[in-house]
Symmetry: C2
Subunit: 280 residues, 2 copies
């Protein structure tokens, strides 16, 4: 039987293999400088950090380790957001009993030390983030470890850091809402038929239909994010025609639109589904 | 830096991602009951066995463990042959100094106990093998652990088992020839340009041009294996035109021809190339 750390790595691999996931690198899509094999290497590189999380290492330290390993490939940021979801989930699964309540308990008990490791993780890889509000300028994650004195002076836990950006960031929003969409995605995958990668690709469109992608909002504005979500709704409502979905992907890529946060949630959902016994 | 066990797993992933590899499952090809995601799960499942090998566990035991983990997916045999090459290579790399001479020393020192674990590995998964010669009938690997009393009575080491089938099996042939083609494939990959998966796909055609695939010979006869090798030569000599190679793949698949042993050697070559610093 695969361990939680193995299932987390497999979830990262199945996520990138699932196609079509419009606007994202997937089994049938490379970007010029960010290719499928970078995601394979990212998943393998994250393995020691994921194993540490399963063995009870604190979330912040395990996350930093996972990101450091993930970054050892030439594509840049491949799975930062997915790991930010997976690490607490793996830690809960490693302790036994992966439920929304146990996950909430896990993230609510993160510490200032976890927050400092989270900031350190940004020193390993370039992550796209928007300018923070003026009152949070000295907590800008792009400062990396330079923000740590502020984090410590204010006594901010990692959960509180996530609370501060939950309105703008879909991964942080999961942290403060019991990983609601991650667990729902797992149920969607478990309740569907066919190859698990096909189910995950449909889950991606369904999630995007449900809520605008926050990475798209940061990079292209809310109006574009809403329009992308609207088109996903149409495709979901008309039955996920694979050719139509793929054609839409061409359009998104041409416009540089990457709903990457939604893909992160698919990875988290795949992990929970694997832990609950979905067969590959 | 990735460990040898991580590089071995990444090699398995890069191998199946490399396309076109005519007649094999790859990034652009599924078979009806053996799909890309089965290889992803197989690679992740093999991880504990690969880690055990890197940590010095005997070859036979680490191999059986890797195969048992690999088998926990619905596609059947995905990477048995590749693991039979990788496990000794990983063990050598884990001890430091991955060279042909060190690898020869490693496999020559395998024991009767290693041979018994090798036979046990066949109980985890269906592997295609041909009928053995009459004088080796009670050493037929398809007997699985039922052959162990014979192995022990004859005092056969795993190296000796490989010697007995080296004429018929390309993986066993590597064991008794210093992993010559695996190391040559690594040099080929290191010496080429472009994405590592594209280099590996060219290496596959080049290997097939160099020698007929033994799995094809077992399943379809030597004449067919020679013809496949001949066509690979033409494609290699005319510059690996990707469309021509892919079209040939359609033809091989239609005829049920799977040069899988050549793919195993590509995986071993990718591992050595990763250990020698090829960048992903």
């Amino acid at each position: 039987m695969r361990t939680p750390a193995q299932n987390a790595e497999l979830a990262l691999l199945l996520e990138v293999a699932s196609t079509p996931k419009p606007g994202n690198v997937d089994r049938e899509r490379d970007f010029p400088d960010l290719r499928f094999e970078h995601f394979l290497a990212g998943a393998v590189g994250a393995q020691p950090g994921l194993r540490a999380a399963a063995n009870g290492e604190p979330v912040g330290r395990a996350f930093e380790r996972a990101v450091a390993g993930m970054s050892e490939q030439g594509g840049g940021n491949t799975q930062f957001g997915a790991l930010l979801l997976l690490v607490p989930l793996v830690r809960v699964a490693g302790a036994g009993g992966l439920t929304p309540a146990a996950t909430r308990n896990e993230v609510e008990h993160t510490t200032v030390s976890d927050a400092t490791k989270f900031y350190r993780a940004f020193d390993h890889v370039d992550v796209f983030v928007d300018d923070p509000p003026a009152d949070l300028a000295d907590l800008d994650v792009r400062l990396g470890k330079a923000a740590i004195p502020t984090v410590e002076a204010r006594g901010l836990t990692l959960f509180e850091v996530m609370e501060a950006s939950a309105d703008e960031d879909g991964v942080a929003a999961e942290w403060v809402s019991d990983f609601r969409r991650s667990f729902a995605t797992a149920e969607y995958i478990l309740g569907n038929d066919g190859a698990v990668t096909d189910r995950a690709a449909r889950a991606f469109v369904d999630l995007l239909a449900d809520e605008p992608d926050t990475l798209v909002a940061k990079q292209h504005g809310r109006e574009t994010a809403n329009a992308v979500s609207g088109r996903a709704s149409e495709l979901a409502n008309s039955g996920f025609d694979v050719d139509e979905v793929a054609a839409w992907g061409d359009d998104l890529v041409a416009r540089g639109i990457n709903p990457g946060t939604t893909a992160d949630i698919v990875a988290a959902g795949l992990f929970i589904a694997l832990e609950r016994g979905v067969e590959v």
